[in-house]
Symmetry: C2
């Protein structure tokens, strides 16, 4: 049985304040747990799982045995933030990534300027992972990458995409050669503009769009053209990110 303190500690990691204090976060579910165990990108602080799961997956349990805890369904319910808890919960260290300027200068990367919806954040990490973008930068106004809902909806992409919180002016000072593109509603048609396969693409907040700081840093403003009979006011932020990334990377 888990101690009250352990349960309280794991539950506290649902809040950003405690994730930042302890530099730990929670990843749940069989698929993600196995990816973490096999991938070795992350340091596991504790693995909490039903006994039958531990038995079935014993060959993957190569971490320090003192970190592995067989728990009851009742305890799993307590520490899980899912409606339907799924056999295993991993408490992991939040990784710290460092920025390689040459890699940044030679790649397409994303700057998320206040993305608020955890589902959008997860979907955007999946896009970055799918297209192999090395970095996703987040403004301080973004939903936390290690929010349980982001972790769930990113489907493991958070393991492979390096995410860094940066203000855009600082990033521009650090990398003066970077061309900064921004997704806006009144920019150049992205499909008829000649695009490089590198640069920083800014995606704005779901409601408010691009911040004044990011607007000021932007070199090229891009728009996904509406169809002749199109009526929507905007596309979902993750959908727009996907379309723009594919316009940069796939020129037919």
């Amino acid at each position: 049985m888990l101690s009250k303190n352990t349960i309280k500690y794991i539950q506290s990691l649902r809040l950003k304040k405690f994730r930042q204090k302890y530099r730990n976060f929670v990843a749940e579910g069989e698929k993600i747990a196995l990816e973490i165990l096999q991938g070795q990108e992350l340091i596991i602080e504790g693995l909490y799982a039903l006994p039958e799961w531990l038995e079935k997956n014993s060959s993957f349990l190569t971490i320090d045995p003192s970190k592995i805890h067989a728990i009851s369904t009742k305890d799993l319910d307590r520490i899980s933030s899912l409606k339907t808890p799924n056999k295993v919960v991993a408490v992991c260290n939040i990784p710290t990534y460092s920025l390689e300027i040459p890699l940044l200068n030679n790649s397409l990367t994303l700057y998320l300027d206040g993305i608020q919806d955890p589902g959008n954040m997860g979907s955007i990490l999946r896009i970055a992972d799918w297209f192999g973008l090395p970095y996703v930068f987040c403004s301080s106004g973004c939903v936390d990458i290690y929010n349980p809902k982001v972790i769930q909806s990113s489907m493991g992409a958070f393991l492979r995409v390096q995410t860094l919180e940066k203000d855009i002016e600082g990033l521009k000072t650090q990398c003066p050669d970077l061309t900064i593109f921004a997704a806006v509603l009144d920019g150049l048609n992205v499909f008829s503009t000649t695009l490089p396969s590198k640069g920083l693409l800014v995606i704005g907040n779901e409601g408010k769009g691009i911040s004044p700081q990011a607007q000021a840093a932007t070199t090229v403003r891009l728009t996904i053209p509406k169809g002749p009979k199109g009526g929507a006011e905007s596309l979902n932020a993750a959908v727009a990110t996907g379309i723009l990334c594919s316009a940069f990377l796939n020129k037919g």
Copy 2:
């Protein structure tokens, strides 16, 4: 004050069973209510709003006054399905759309084959609206278009995109000339395939992909190619839909 029966009736419309029984659904919030009042695509059964909202927007209230109800914040809380109810709730008739075969044959349209997530469904309707697709077909396994979460996340797109529930074999029999494309993980590279600007594009379920029925009906299997360093298993269904639609409609 609203009667208990009215409150119960509006609350019942959160469930598909009652929406189908009464052929009504609920749309909430100022923006959508004003779009519905101005657009006249939908028949409003009842408009329930705070008195100050009705006063401020009196010039738009051109419907039968017996259908307009000033309500208290307390009653708004009761009938709303939002965490933060937003001033106005409209109960509307579910529209019935009829299929124009020549329009279908000459357009890009979508077939949603078991899309389950309301946020994805809403985002896909926004894509269809943005690009001006005339129809979105849904299999019987999809989340209901008139689910409150779909209505919210579609941001009014449900007013402009005609949605029809159809089984794919029936649709193929009805329109034998239709080329059916499907989004899969092992098809032709969508960016190096010559695509028409018309056809039916099948998007599969978030977890299970395309159903055997839709597989059998498919003419061309398409894939969004992963980047050389890409790692994700898949893209979010709405993101994939956006990328594919833009590949069909924008050839640079």
